[in-house]
């Protein structure tokens, strides 16, 4: 597991690229034998303000990549990325905007 991020602010718009280490294993959904394990909720906050919620499925590629942008940001602001998977695992990371 692990969350990598590149987060930059330009003219108050933050652009963030996330790479999350996760198998995103569909298992029986795609006729496989491995246990199904995939992120089904990811939430991003800018300070206390919600930026978006994403609900992935096992049809998101292994080690999910997500790029997004939001307004009203400045360098040094913190964002929080948190994900949860269908097996109850989760991870949370604070990222500083550069």
């Amino acid at each position: 597991m692990g969350i990598k991020a590149i987060a930059k602010v330009k003219k108050s718009i933050a652009t963030v690229k996330l790479l999350v280490k996760h198998p995103m294993e569909p298992g029986a959904i795609a006729g496989g034998k491995k246990p199904t394990k995939y992120i089904n909720h990811m939430t991003v906050k800018h300070g206390d303000k919600l930026v978006f919620d994403m609900y992935p499925t096992s049809a998101i590629a292994k080690n999910p990549y997500i790029k997004f942008a939001f307004k009203g940001a400045k360098k040094g602001d913190m964002i929080t990325v948190e994900w949860f998977d269908n097996t109850g695992a989760s991870e949370k990371k604070d990222i500083k905007l550069k």
């Binding site: 795609a30 006729g31 034998k33 930026v51 609900y55 049809a59 998101i60 997500i66 790029k67």
Partner: protein, 148 residues
């Protein structure tokens, strides 16, 4: 009197929509397990009627050599979209991912999706009035990428 009634209606509508968009996975789990796009969209929104009016934008390759990671970018020209959903009609579960967008968030997301075979990728965007806008693009897949 009429005005008061109208305001009351407005308030209850706002309260309802806040609840409805709190967590679309928890509210509509069946949509995520649906076997057809129509079932998935109906499960989420109660209707599968969409407008193909150019307001939903989808960027995806014409040909994907590797179906295990097909890059897609979804966006919209709509002012205050509430939700955005990607579906792929050739996958066992067509609903691939859904986003709940907050005001101030630029409604544009890039990610990589799995495609089992050549199929239609569809983006559905729900606007602030609950109307659905869609766009579809066929992506040819050389090597499928859904296997476990």
């Amino acid at each position: 009197m009429k005005r008061r009634k109208f305001l009351g209606l407005g308030l209850s509508a706002v309260a309802f929509s806040t609840v409805a968009s709190a967590n679309i996975l928890k509210e509509h789990p069946q949509a995520f397990d649906a076997k057809s796009i129509e079932e998935a969209i109906k499960g989420l929104y109660g209707t599968s009627e969409t407008l193909n009016d150019g307001k939903a934008k989808l960027k995806a390759p014409d040909i994907a050599e590797n179906g295990a990671a097909v890059p897609v970018t979804v966006s919209t020209t709509l002012e205050n979209p509430k939700t955005m959903v990607i579906t792929v009609d050739g996958n066992p579960h067509p609903l691939v991912a859904a986003w709940e967008v907050q005001p101030g968030t630029i409604p544009k997301f890039s990610t990589r999706i799995k495609m089992r075979k050549t199929a239609n990728v569809t983006l559905i965007v729900e606007d602030e009035n609950g109307k659905l806008h869609s766009v579809t693009k066929q992506v040819k897949v050389t090597v499928g990428g859904c296997g476990g």
